[in-house]
Amino acid sequence: MAVTTFTLNGQQQRLDVEPDTPLLWVIREACELTGTKFGCGRGLCGACTVHLDGYPVRSCSFPVSLAEGKTITTIEGIAPSEEELHPVQQVWMEQSVPQCGYCQSGQIMAAVALLKQNPEPSDDAIDSAMSNICRCGTYPRIRTAVKEAAQRIQSASMVTIVEPQEAAL
């Protein structure tokens, strides 16, 4: 066992875990955040996607030791508040993207990361970034929702000149 420290959804974590434990199981079992899902255990399906310093990683095959000192965000950590959803979540909900819903945390985390890197993704960019598997076949709606979320984030950023943190001061 070894002590690992990282930031999870804004909270400092200090855990005594086996260093080779995949981050997924630390998040789900030790930190009790179950929105991040186990789908394949080999980084193939993306159901376990979380953000590590803002970049999407497949946590089922990412040893917790590599998360040392990093900032991790899960599906539970992307909404601005309890009442408000992240624009990607909001569009996902309005367009009834989820069916069984099991892969959707990972899909949304992949989409949020994509839009951060590329605010106006082309179809090709969506094709390569959104490689998570959905057995229910929600792909057509994911494509539409990513585009709609991109537009909303863009138009929101045009009117929101003041950063929320600054506004709070």
């Binding site: 079992e29 193939l44 996902w92 009834s96 929600t138």
Partner: protein, 722 residues
């Protein structure tokens, strides 16, 4: 007294199409269990609905939500009759109760695309009764006539008063009789049924807060994983657990269910230890079997005499030149995104199960049998299902969890890996068919065929019988039923011998492949392969006769049928016959689960690479309770069906599944998903199946498009250009 009418049993053992129609009447002398979710001081007119003292309406969702939308669809039925927004209703996954048994399948289960069809009236009636009860109570309490009382927006409006909360009427209502046949709303007055609305489970599913079986835990829970014999049907001979026991966090390693279980503090130590086990296997009955021997076996069986399942018309009509074609489909795994798992806590007088299952009834039956406990002790807390597709009709993983919990005395969360899932499924069986027609003078004079396929019901019935059979029946009886059922299992030929194509003579036979390969109900079941056989061969016939594939089909089916209307509509919407240059169209139309779906696939071919550009789909499913969910289910089934049409199947080597994870058992990706356009045929008929019927036509429509593009007739799935 409980009676079992054998005759009606066999007669009505119709397509499970994902289920089993069993006409067993479970009268019985015992008292009915209390309504599920029973709350103190609540108003409870029936098993489905309650009003709590604070005025909330609680709906017991009697079917499993696995993506197909019952959470929204069935709640909408109750909301409509209660005149309140569906979002205001508290939805709970129902516990087992006899009133939740499906009238066709005689068990509480979700499958066969029957959820809306068979609950359309009962749930509306249950809600209408509650509405009538509340109105009567308000009229009495406020001494007004019934006409002066109406329900609106989750409250009771009484003329001349402020709106009254439902909770304020509980006491008065309880002093009045429960209405049983209150009038239902006229469809003309529907304000929610038939309208577009956001799924009620969408919010929880975008925030990560929706709870699936794998997310459940109770104090003291240990995680278990299992190693099962990789050779299907085999079992453990001996094993060395020393390396496994050395893994930190491992608590126990023992043999169970023919495999080896590892119990540990969490998933990772359990998995590491399981990988470290050194196990000698007894390869079991399928040792030596591979894909070639399976193919040869089917070819040989095709030569044997079949059981006739359909014969229509006059055999004298057979005349002219004969054309014959042979088709084949591979085994397929369901692979829902949430691997099978169950949390089971076995205690002295109670066995609690937290899991996602399509068959709470069967789960209770098999756990009771496995632990030798009465059914009443088994409680299934059903959760959201991370995909079902028929996989969660088999409760094998629940029994594993139950046995491990019973053995260790701890609550056990048993979790399968993706490898476990792909290598230990109850597979869509491999099947082969030979179809044949005679053509005389430019006309088809006969259409016949023979299929070789295992009987799913024959294999699975004994397990279902644990749930559906009266308990006094000796255990040997259900087992022997399996042998008989293979003679009546309509899922073997559904969509093959029962299409509405009209030819002077039609005949269909089936040969039972009595195999120990585990087989199960895979989304659309027999239709998943039989539509590929039928709709490919019909296309071959059209081309042979030099006729347009759409025209040929329309000409040979009743003009007043749903399928005719769906096909007409899809041809029009897809611009049939006018594809973009360089692209090619293929069509298929199929009836399944009482609905009709027709699809036009547009594809192109580069080298040996098949690219699907667009799928236009028309569906007639009666009244679309939630049209957006109908569209979503068509999209879903098309993607599911395209995976089967284009991606690898399950193949065997020495009785062992060769594929293990999504790298060698791939799924269609977003990048490969075509544009999908869905049209719903307007209808006022009662709702019919939606979750499965969109799947069968897509593979043949694509194969037919590939033929249009290349002149190559691909008669096997997955489609591979040579």
């Amino acid at each position: 007294m409980t009676t079992l009418s054998r005759r009606s049993f066999f007669k009505q053992s119709a397509a499970l199409g994902g289920g089993i129609a069993v006409a067993i009447h479970l009268g019985g002398c015992g008292s009915e269990p209390v309504y599920p979710g029973d709350r103190e001081n609540a108003l409870q007119p029936n098993a489905y609905l309650q009003v709590t003292p604070d005025g909330k309406v609680v709906f017991q969702l009697p079917r499993a939500e696995m993506g197909q939308g019952v959470y929204t669809g069935l709640t909408t039925l109750a909301a409509e009759e209660l005149n309140m927004p569906a979002e205001q209703i508290v939805v709970e996954h129902a516990y087992y109760h006899p009133e939740f048994r499906d009238p066709e399948f005689q068990m509480m289960m979700t499958g066969g695309s029957v959820s809306l069809r068979n609950n359309f009236m009962p749930i509306r009636q249950a809600a209408a009764n509650l509405r009538a009860w509340l109105r009567a109570a308000a009229a009495q309490q406020y001494k007004v006539s019934l006409d002066a009382v109406e329900l609106s927006n989750g409250q009771v409006l009484v003329e001349g008063r402020e709106p009254v909360g439902f909770g304020e009427l509980i006491e008065t209502a309880n002093s009045l009789p429960v209405p049983e046949k209150a009038p239902l709303k006229s469809p003309a007055d529907f304000s929610q049924i038939g309208r577009h609305s956001v799924r009620l489970d969408a919010r929880d599913k975008v925030t990560g807060s929706a709870r699936f079986g794998i997310d459940c835990t109770v104090p003291g829970t240990r995680t278990a994983v299992m190693r099962r014999c990789p050779h299907l049907g085999g079992r453990v001979k001996s094993f060395d657990a020393s390396a496994a026991k050395a893994v930190k966090g491992v608590e126990a390693v023992f043999e169970v269910n023919g495999g080896v279980a590892v119990v540990a503090s969490g998933y990772w130590p359990a998995r590491k230890a399981a990988d470290a086990l050194d196990i000698q296997w007894d390869k079991g009955p399928l040792a030596g079997l591979d894909d070639n021997t399976l193919r040869q076996r089917h070819e040989k069986l095709l030569q044997s005499e079949g059981r006739q399942v359909a014969e229509v018309g006059d055999a004298e009509a057979v005349a002219g030149e004969r054309m014959t074609a042979r088709y084949r489909v591979p085994m397929l795994s369901h692979s829902p995104m949430e691997p099978p798992n169950a949390l089971v806590q076995v205690s002295e007088n109670r066995v609690e199960v937290w899991t996602g299952t399509q068959v709470p009834d069967t789960a209770i039956g098999v756990v009771a049998a496995a632990l030798e406990r009465p059914r009443e002790q088994i409680i299934v807390h059903n959760q959201m299902l991370g995909g079902g597709f028929g996989r969660r009709l088999v409760p094998d993983y629940i029994v594993e969890g139950a046995r491990i919990s019973a053995r260790t005395g701890h609550p056990i969360k048993l979790v399968w890996s993706r490898e476990d899932d792909i290598q230990h499924d109850y597979y869509r069986p491999a099947a082969m068919a030979e179809l044949s027609a005679t053509v005389d003078n430019g006309k088809v004079t006969s259409f016949s065929g023979k299929t070789v396929v295992p009987s799913i019901m024959g294999q699975i019935m004994p397990m279902f019988a644990e749930a559906a059979m009266p308990e006094w029946l000796p255990p040997a009886i259900p087992r022997s039923l399996a042998g008989l059922l293979k003679h009546v299992d309509t899922s073997m030929t559904e969509g093959l011998g029962d299409t509405n194509y009209q030819f002077p003579y039609k005949k269909m036979e089936t040969v039972h492949d009595d195999t120990p390969i585990p087989v199960g109900f895979w989304r659309s079941v027999g239709h998943s392969q039989n539509a590929f056989f039928t709709e490919s061969f019909i296309d071959e016939l059209a081309h042979r006769l030099g006729q347009d594939p759409v025209e040929f089909r329309l000409m040979h089916m009743p003009h007043d049928s749903r399928r005719y209307r769906a096909l007409k509509l899809v041809a029009e919407k897809a611009g049939w016959g006018r594809p973009t240059p360089g692209q090619f169209q293929g069509v298929a139309a199929h009836d399944a689960f009482h609905s009709s779906v027709a699809q036009v696939v547009t594809a192109s071919v580069e080298g040996t690479n098949i690219r699907v550009h667009k799928v236009v789909c028309a569906v007639d499913c009666g009244l679309a309770v939630n049209p957006d969910i109908v569209i979503a289910q068509m999209e879903s089934a098309i993607v599911f069906g395209l995976t089967a049409a284009l991606k690898a199947g399950i193949t065997l080597e020495d009785g062992k599944v060769k594929q293990s994870n999504f790298h060698d058992y791939p799924m269609l990706s977003l990048a490969e998903t075509p544009e999908i356009e869905v049209h719903i045929v307007p209808s006022t008929d009662a709702p019919t199946g939606v979750g499965e019927p969109g799947l069968p036509p897509v593979a043949p429509a694509l194969a037919n498009a590939v033929f249009a593009a290349t002149g190559q007739r691909l008669r096997e799935l997955p489609l591979r250009l040579g």
